[in-house]
């Protein structure tokens, strides 16, 4: 019987050129890792069709412990307030290796 431990899964969708800034925030507020997926989409800021290589979105996934969530959300909220278009949502997940997600990147 493999034990399961609760964590949070933070998902952020934005234009791909935001990646550098998002990763900088991640490293500042401390997370153990992140995953980036190329995406297309449509929303308030129009269509991002990924037709030319310069209109792509990214979807970023971060698994992290609850206590690391708030500072990161605050930094995302500041970016949104500045005008950046970020679609952000948080879900409950369970993991089998909780230690993995308490480390810090670099």
């Amino acid at each position: 019987m493999v034990a399961l431990y609760p964590e949070k899964l933070l998902t952020i969708i934005s234009i791909d050129s935001m990646e550098e800034s998002l990763v900088a925030s991640f490293k500042k507020y401390g997370i153990s890792g992140y995953t980036v997926i190329r995406a297309r989409g449509e929303g308030a800021s129009g269509i991002q069709a990924d037709m030319t290589g310069f209109d792509a979105n990214i979807m970023v996934k971060v698994v992290l412990p609850l206590e690391r969530l708030q500072p990161l959300l605050e930094s995302l909220e500041r970016k949104i307030r500045k005008g950046h278009h970020l679609t952000v949502f948080v879900a409950d997940v369970q993991v089998i290796t909780p230690d993995k997600f308490t480390r810090s990147l670099r």
Binding site: S21, G46, M51, F54, D55, S75, G83
Partner: protein
Amino acid sequence: MGSLTNLLLPAVLFFALGFVARVIKSDLRFPPDLAKVLSIYLLMAIGLHGGYELAKADIMTAVNSIVWALVLGFTLPIIGYIALVLTRKVNPMDAAAISAHYGSVSAGTFLTAIAYLDSAGVSYETYPLIMLAVMESPAIIVGLLLAAKARMSLAARDDVVAAGDGTTAMSADDGNENDAHSMAALLRDAFTNGSVVVLIGSMIIGAISTPSGMEKLFPFIDDIFMGVLCLFLFDMGMVAARRIGDFRKVGLVLAAFGVLMPLLGGVVGAYVGFAILDFSVGGATLVAVLGASASYIAVPPAMRLAVPEANPSFYLTLSLGITFPFNVLVGIPLYHSLVQSMAMSG
């Protein structure tokens, strides 16, 4: 060679084919990375070629070209900004972001102009190529400065309304955090932009490589060039058609700007190229095209990051959906005729 012949160039016809494909709702899609690969190839090919020629060029004329490229890149967006603000159809943020596109250049338009001149048997200097590389970035800086100015005046207004709500404190903290987006970082981004690196890097390589090494490259950069340009414009035709659909969102006044601004830029460029830099008809036509064309590769992502408050539909529709097709189909032969008549009257 009249304007009609321009429309019978394969490259221009492929642009039209891409456009039509979208209009008839074909399911034709080019893989998104293809456009990127094609433009890397095109920049590399013209860069190598240009560098090879420039190695034999006159240093004074080269420096002169660079200076005037900077002048164009810094002046045109300011003119565009003032014109846009005067229309009262967009807010200052949007005006800043849009006008930055017009100070920069479109390599696709430039290459179509080269195909046009080649096919009309008109020769041209290589200096405009350096100008192409130089003009990619300065307009981004002007755009940022205009946006910063607009932001400050907006903030001043907001402060009266919502003083003390903590936003300012947070922004400060955020400015701190986001050094990735600070002014310095954005300037760095502007000058280390991928297209600029490929173009300038290839020019240097073309200039310093051993001639025997360069010879082995010519089949790659010459023989298949026109075919690759056709593929690229095919793809861009589809992109432009998708964007022109947003025409209504932009409104008639803005759409008119998308045609008048390149005309203005073309006239200024033709004058700089012909009267000031003393280029041949072909060379001056290329400078006119630099003045007339609007960026759709380097500037949009820069504006997205640095001026997130501006509406991307505005600048993307204008540069990709209106100005780019206008220049490819109508502008290039027009600027050529203009320079020709300057040459006659001169």
